[in-house]
Symmetry: C2
Subunit: 232 residues, 2 copies
């Protein structure tokens, strides 16, 4: 296989899989030689990916590269950022290394269900009103706290992007999370309480790379090169 190939699925206007983070990153780095394989939503991914030669991975994101299958969007992003570092560094500067790793992890934990709430939900012995007060309301708090963390970061820094040195993989990782959860109303940035985070999200959405990555929601299942060009 010559080009790195990334598997993705999207439902237009509703959701992109986490692979969005990696496609966006490739666009920001101006990489030409990659393939995006769009899967059919709602059908098991493992069987679809096997048709394209995937042998191990059963979930997306998956990156095929150098006869390896790499999983987890944060790891794929790191692999891609290192591979194409010569075109443009996306990992910030050396002194920001721990910070960029924190943001990569935070991109997941900021949208993660609070662990101790999961048993309350899964071992359903609760009424609807108990689910509301024991699970849903605490999670609303958690999401608000996570938005507040972004907001206080931008208040202190006054920077346009998460790292001082400029746009980076921290933004492609956290950007997908904020975009998706804001779109769903779960991390609502329109309340007036987080103007800097809202402005940050708008800044991300207006980037060419973001918009080019969004286009993949519009195409049919199949294999594509950069710019949603079908591979026949």
């Amino acid at each position: 296989m010559s080009y790195p190939r990334l598997f993705h699925v999207a439902v237009p206007g509703v959701v992109h899989s986490r692979s969005f983070r990696c496609i966006w990153l490739l666009e920001e780095m101006d990489v030409e030689d990659f393939e995006i394989c769009m899967l059919e939503p709602g059908k098991p991914y493992a069987a679809q990916m096997r048709q394209y030669g995937v042998t191990q991975s059963r979930k997306i994101p998956t990156l095929q590269i150098d006869n390896l299958e790499v999983r987890e969007s944060g790891v794929i992003s790191q692999v891609l950022a290192e591979r194409y570092a010569s075109s443009r560094s996306m990992f910030g500067i050396d002194s920001e290394r721990i910070e960029v790793l924190e943001w990569i992890a935070m991109a997941e934990t900021c949208i993660t269900f609070r662990i101790p709430l999961i048993p309350s939900l899964m071992q359903l012995g609760k009424s609807l009103s108990e689910i509301r007060s024991h699970v849903v309301e605490p999670m609303e708090h958690v999401f608000r706290d996570n938005v507040a963390r972004f907001e206080s970061h931008f208040e202190e820094r006054g920077s346009d992007y998460l790292l001082r040195s400029g746009f980076s993989v921290a933004d492609t990782m956290c950007g997908w999370s904020l975009h998706t959860f804001h779109t769903w109303g779960l991390m609502d940035l329109d309340t007036g309480a987080s103007p800097l985070t809202l402005a940050y999200l708008e800044r991300l959405r207006s980037r060419n790379g973001f918009q080019r990555a969004e286009k993949y929601a519009e195409v049919s299942p199949g294999l594509y090169r950069r710019g949603c060009v079908s591979v026949s």
Copy 2:
């Protein structure tokens, strides 16, 4: 501050925070010079941590080290493994680098609520039976799939630990997830369907480092040195 200080909270027999992963790692590396600060469960962590000089972080795990505050258990583990690499490498061998990063990420994603299910739950317009069929049952599937991923890994590898080269940070990261979710019955390894993963978990639980880390659930809030020795 002289020693790295890690903040943790635990409820005996119920749950350890993710800081458990990092304490366990320190024990496995035979590090002597660290402090564990146990917080009081159920009270806001940020205010408690401020009393110990934390200025930025509002959540646990948090590691104070070299006048930095490091968040996210995977990042803290990486920082600690690098700092104490001379005592014992916990990151596997060079050729396992991508794999160890995948397991660090997988430790979180294997216990993460499936993202598209979250709106169904949070925007409560559903009956209890709809919550069961639209949210709880799909999540039961996800957890079973994640256990199956571990099981097939051990079937293929036949290894005692996640990496071929032996015990590593992959195990301290994923081990906490498996231990916690198995204890809660959410990733039940006793069904007979995942004997290798169950044996793996028992192997982890029998390690000295795991058992020493568990002891912190028994002590009162306050500051401790290795072995739960109170710092007066």
